[in-house]
Symmetry: C2
Subunit: 344 residues, 2 copies
């Protein structure tokens, strides 16, 4: 603000055309003659004119702003998603208005993003309050839940096939000859945890076995450490554990190795979920279920843009295939290095 004085009127005066002519040269698909256009561009260049996006948004009803709500960025999955998502949105001419939320401030966040006339919202690593969903629906703004879903809500969702992912983990662990297989849950209210866990149990059942032990880590680093201590503290400990995400799996591995002096995978096999960059690092070499970040982002953007441009908000749910990535934190079933999901 402060100083961005140059308006379309100034340009018009210099170019000796009407102000609307200036506006037209700067709007896609408006009819301007080549000559007018050139004069306007020249004048604009001389003055350093830049259309005011706020004014444009007001009159056209299109802010080209997308609210992205994020709750915490310490799980590396989300920074990467945020990076790719911004990039993809930028490419389509939209811009990201970033909000950090926690359950406590979500109502004020909703108000603020709606005041800024955002055209869509994506929620990643954040819990959807029913209030948010309602307000957005009322305003006719599409919202997509990234890596989560709420069946009862009108919000769209994009997830990996968590059920199938859980099943893959079970199949791999059973195949590896493990006999006491445990699970460390994330946040029990989350759809990701529910589905991964359900798929995992289903997979175990398909191979005629069941869960040996279970603890809850709440998707936090410290919570996972406690869960690991609880599960592996006894003499009769599990010989394999499926952890609901990589972020927790690292913490579990730390406890197993450093506190309990167990070897991975000789004493215990560990399988995670997400395939964040650290999973490939030498300190962990974590066998995990990979979430297809890129396709998930593409789906998010296309759902959003479509609903914005067609001006119809309808619930859509994209489920992208997950895939097992074998590294060294779990004993191998055979010699195949990569098992694909059988649901493409």
């Amino acid at each position: 603000m402060t100083k961005n004085n140059v308006t379309s009127g100034d340009v018009a005066r210099l170019a000796k055309v009407s102000q609307s002519a200036v506006s037209r040269t700067f709007t896609q698909g408006a009819s301007v003659s080549a000559e007018t256009r050139e004069r306007v561009l020249k004048a604009a260049g001389e003055l350093g004119y830049r259309p005011n996006a706020l004014a444009r948004a007001m009159i056209s009803g299109r802010s080209r702003l997308i609210a992205v709500l994020v709750a915490y960025l310490d799980n590396q999955f989300y920074p990467i998603v945020l990076e790719r998502l911004s990039l993809a949105l930028q490419e389509k001419g939209y811009h990201v208005l970033l909000f950090m939320t926690d359950p406590g401030n979500q109502d004020s966040v909703v108000q603020r993003m709606l005041q800024y006339q955002v055209e869509g919202v994506v929620m990643a690593s954040a819990t959807l309050s029913s209030n948010l969903a309602r307000e957005c629906a009322k305003a006719g703004i599409p919202v997509v839940l990234f890596n989560r879903y709420v069946p009862s809500s009108p919000a769209s969702s994009v997830t990996s096939d968590n059920i199938e992912g859980g099943r893959l983990a079970a199949q791999f662990l059973v195949g590896g000859g493990h006999e006491r297989i445990a699970f460390i849950a994330g946040n029990e209210d989350s759809s990701t945890n529910r589905d991964r866990e359900a798929g995992f149990y289903k997979g175990l059942a398909e191979h005629g076995t069941t869960i040996w032990g279970r603890a809850v880590g709440g998707y936090t680093f410290d919570g996972a450490a406690d869960a690991a201590r609880e599960l592996f503290g006894e003499k009769d400990r599990p010989d394999a554990v499926f952890v609901a995400n990589d972020h927790m799996a690292f913490s579990v591995m730390d406890v197993l190795r450093n506190e309990l002096k167990l070897r991975i995978p000789e004493d215990v096999s560990v399988v995670g979920y997400d395939d964040v960059p650290e999973a490939g690092w030498g300190g962990y070499r974590l066998t995990t279920i990979s979430q297809p970040a890129e396709p998930m982002i593409e789906a998010t953007v296309s759902i959003l843009i479509e609903q914005i441009e067609e001006r119809v908000v309808k619930r859509r749910a994209a489920v992208l295939p997950a895939e097992l990535v074998i590294r060294e934190s779990a004993r191998l079933p055979g010699k195949n290095k990569r098992i694909k999901s059988n649901r493409a």
Copy 2:
């Protein structure tokens, strides 16, 4: 947009007051009688009225938007900064417009953020193009460089005391009795690398020694791995290495341990810079120089807000103290567990 029909006019009609009365009840410190205020609030509540931030920004010249430019989010230092920064800004009533930039698209990013009438910009993990600096200066918009600085530019900066941090690393490594001390540089054009390296050499000199070897990792994971191979491939290898940031240090540790079968810290001591969360993880236990993220963010916000509210853009440079955090990746000099910077 689509549907947020309710305007201050609608509220005014229902409350039977003027439209300005409505505006006043929603602006800080405007004079409205308790009665009017109440009637307006009631009507607003019934209609679900929400002031349009865009319209407000236009007329008042205050968008309350801050552009945050980021280049890559795979170094965990930045996601965490982004999280805290958004939170701090949100608390002050500002909002983050996020831009992912690379040297190639920076010009278009500048144009876009200026179109949105941002009131300030912070650049983290991104190189400042002189064009950006110039355009912002012309527009009277304060910019603060986070974790970097450009001496010749009008942009403010917030950094840790990288020179002193480098010195601390040298002192610690020399104290640990190492005799062949090497350095792995980040991006050689960056101020962080220049200062950390200069401080490191200065520290070595103060103890009557000099650098044994040096390689460049470019602040990337793969680049650091190559640098480590280059430096440690020879028979006559270093017995200690200071790596210009943690992100690279992890990669270096992976190469040393897994490829070269060297023990840390028995064969080689490794010291990093940043103290990202992973540095504390069991897989690395990295001794490192901690950047004071919280104070750095506070400084960023206060520089920004002050310049926005006083409407004067002047160059300021905040340098916050760095501190050695001792873990297990480097041999100890004595038995003290924490050496503070001597410049508070």
